[in-house]
């Protein structure tokens, strides 16, 4: 089943994803990010890339989709550099899945 991929973040960081054909939405504050993510989830997006900077503002929203199959929210660094939480999240998920940190 094909799923759409969405990208949410500040304009500078995520604009380039448009070239790949992802649907890109811009957000700079929590309220906007939350509404965009919720509406994307409603529209059956499979993967949502979210900048780490925004992710820090909307932890409840991310937590809400943790237990769900779709959408998978993947954190990406933005143009100001990585904050490490994206990688941490992946490590946590791997640990949850296999019971050990293998990365």
């Amino acid at each position: 089943m094909p799923n759409k991929i969405g990208v949410v973040g500040d304009k500078e960081s995520v604009l380039a994803f448009k070239m790949l054909g992802f649907s890109v939405s811009f957000a700079s504050e929590a309220k906007e990010a939350r509404l965009i993510i919720d509406s994307m989830a409603d529209k059956d997006y499979g993967v949502i890339y979210l900048t780490e900077q925004l992710a820090e503002m909307v932890p409840e929203t991310i937590k809400r989709y943790d237990a769900k199959l779709k959408p998978a929210i993947i954190l990406i660094p933005n143009h100001t550099g990585s904050r490490g939480i994206g990688k941490k999240r992946i490590q946590d998920n791997v640990e949850k899945a296999v019971g050990q940190n293998i990365l």
Binding site: A30, K31, R34, E60, R64, K68
Partner: protein, 594 residues
């Protein structure tokens, strides 16, 4: 009066020969002790007699004397607040006379006090033409019940004279000029218990019986004039349900038949009822209660009669134009009494050893319930609501007594032992129970309250139904797999179960909930769901709503303890819910539409 000789004795069944002039259903005095018995079978000159008293030390050769009368009850002032046994012998008089805590045998005691004088007030003047069922006068029997003295059935004529003042039940109080000459009448009537009292017209029951029990009034209402069955395993709370209805139902009179159950339960009634105040009249509940007791250690045959005695008394008060409720606890014991007699008569047994006529006997009892226009030129309207407990062995409702009861009773309150174990009382299972009066009753209540009560009840039922389906999913794959709306449904259904359906019979406030309070409570819970759903549509998360409305939910849980006089406190909860949901929306950064 003919005399026969006992041929054999088998428990409560005595057979006697030489009874050719006796008829079936005649009352006999059996043996030297003069035990009371009733003929239930005749073959040639051999009569089978069920004896309403213990038959030990009675043997063949002793005499049996028939009275030529059917088993009857005396109907006159003096019945209310009394406790009778299955054949209408007053138990307190009995104890005084025999100085024993147990039933001594062969005692003859007048059912009603012969010495007590009642203040009779005539309602008609000399010269009036009266027909059967017409009221000739009244006696204020207790503070709440005005006993209407009616012309006995089959009598009509012109009043020749009528007295005023204090009389006993056997004093002549009026004279009628009938076609066959002048006749004197007392306040008392006698009526054979196995015959229903005639009526002018049977009506369709339209008005619900308010019991003050939320699960009953809201989900499974019974009509005034309807019949309900309460089957349940041991310890599920049948007796408490019956007691609660006897205490709080908005009827004029309650006849409580304790039939084959523990003596302590009748003691409870005697201890508790006098102290309770009827919310409808402000007087003690005992002022409107007639008790009939045939506890488990009392003779089995009289158990069979106790149900009929009870309903005949109920019918008599119905004829006066009162609404009466009769509780029978439990009809299973009564059916077992039938089975015992049938077995001794060597009849061919039916299902589970019950006699083949079990179904028709049960129907006979429940069919005497109903809303009617009584005989008499005034057209008084009265009703009998029959509520029978059934104790199916092992809680298995597929047994014959329950099944035969359900065939005639339109309301089924199925008690559930698993609910009772979880301390959910009254343990009426909302998925299993039903009421065929629901539509009419809900429409009636809706009109009274001027709200769409039917829709609220339907919504409540579907929520509870959905919950049980969702619970199955949760058991399989966990609560996370549910959508947020479904999780909200679970929360609401839990509120309905714990804060609405559960009701503590032993709490002073919670024991009775008026119709208005029921509406307010249900409305608040449904409003909570509505508001939360609206917030979800606007983007609020389940977790946020649950966290943000914690206080409101706690208030909802305490709603049932809000006294009837302070119903505005429940309305305040509605405001609080709206406020808290709004705060959640603002915090989540979502615009609310308000």
């Amino acid at each position: 009066m003919s005399k026969g000789t006992i041929v054999s004795v088998s428990g409560p069944l005595v057979t006697a020969s030489g009874m050719e002039s006796a008829n079936i259903q005649d009352i006999c005095r059996v043996g030297r002790l003069g035990l009371i018995g009733e003929i239930i079978e005749m073959r040639d000159d051999i009569a089978s007699i069920q004896v309403y008293e213990e038959t030990s030390m009675v043997g063949p050769g002793e005499t049996v004397e028939t009275t030529g009368e059917a088993l009857s009850v005396e109907l006159a002032p003096g019945m209310i607040s009394q406790m009778f046994d299955g054949i209408q012998r007053p138990l307190d008089e009995f104890m005084k006379k025999t100085q024993s805590n147990y039933l001594e045998r062969g005692m003859t005691i007048a059912p009603l006090n012969r010495d007590k004088k009642w203040e009779f007030v005539p309602a008609v003047e000399v010269g009036t033409n009266l027909a059967e069922g017409d009221v000739v006068g009244t006696v204020q029997e207790t503070k709440v019940i005005e006993h209407r003295i009616m012309i006995p059935f089959g009598v009509k004529g012109k009043v020749k004279s009528i007295e005023t003042g204090a009389f006993t039940v056997t004093d002549n109080i009026y004279v009628l000029e009938t076609d066959t000459g002048d006749k004197e009448f007392t306040m008392m009537q006698k009526w054979p218990v196995r015959q229903g009292r005639p009526i002018a017209k049977k009506l369709n029951p339209v008005e619900p019986l308010i019991t003050g029990q939320r699960v009953i009034d809201t989900l499974f209402p019974v009509a005034k004039g309807g019949a309900a069955a309460v089957p349940g395993p041991f310890g599920a709370g049948k007796t408490v349900v019956q007691h609660q209805i006897a205490k709080w139902a908005d009827v004029d009179l309650v006849v409580y038949v304790g039939c084959g159950e523990r003596g302590n339960e009748m003691t409870d009634v005697i201890n508790e009822f006098p102290e309770l105040i009827d919310p409808n009249t402000g007087e003690s509940i005992m002022e409107r209660t007639v008790l009939i007791a045939n506890t488990s250690n009392m003779p089995v045959a009289a158990r069979e009669a106790s149900i009929y005695t009870g309903i005949t008394i109920a019918e008599y008060f119905r004829d006066m134009g009162y609404s009466v409720a009769i509780m029978a606890d439990s009809t299973s014991r009564w059916a077992e009494a039938l089975r015992e007699m049938s077995g001794r008569l060597e009849e061919m047994p039916g299902d589970e050893g019950y006699p083949a006529y079990l179904g028709s006997r049960i129907a006979e009892f429940y069919e005497r319930a109903g809303k009617v226009i009584a005989l008499g030129s005034k057209g008084r309207e009265g009703s009998i609501t029959a509520i029978g407990a059934v104790s199916p062995p092992g809680g298995d409702t597929s047994e014959p007594v329950t099944q035969n009861t359900l065939r005639v009773a339109k309301v089924f309150w199925g008690l559930d032992s698993s609910l009772a174990q979880r301390r959910h009382f009254p343990s009426i299972n909302w998925l299993k129970s039903y009421s065929l009066y629901s539509n009419d009753m809900n429409a009636f209540v809706g009109k009274k309250l001027d709200v769409d009560w039917s829709a609220m009840v339907t919504h409540t039922k579907s929520l509870l139904q959905d919950e049980s389906e969702l619970q199955e999913i949760v058991r399989l794959v966990g609560v996370e797999s549910l959508s947020e709306k479904d999780r909200l449904k679970l929360v609401t259904a839990r509120m309905l179960r714990e804060d609405y359906l559960q009701q503590n019979a032993f709490d002073d406030v919670d024991t009775y909930t008026s119709r208005n309070k029921q509406y307010e409570m249900l409305n608040t819970i449904l409003l909570y769901q509505g508001e939360a759903e609206k917030a979800m549509d606007l983007g609020a998360y389940y977790d946020e709503i649950i966290e943000g409305t914690e206080n409101a939910r706690e208030k909802i849980a305490r709603m049932k303890f809000v006294p009837e006089e302070e119903l505005t406190r429940i309305k305040e909860i509605n405001v609080q819910i709206e406020k808290e949901v709004k705060v959640v929306l603002e915090k989540g950064g979502v615009e609310s539409d308000a």
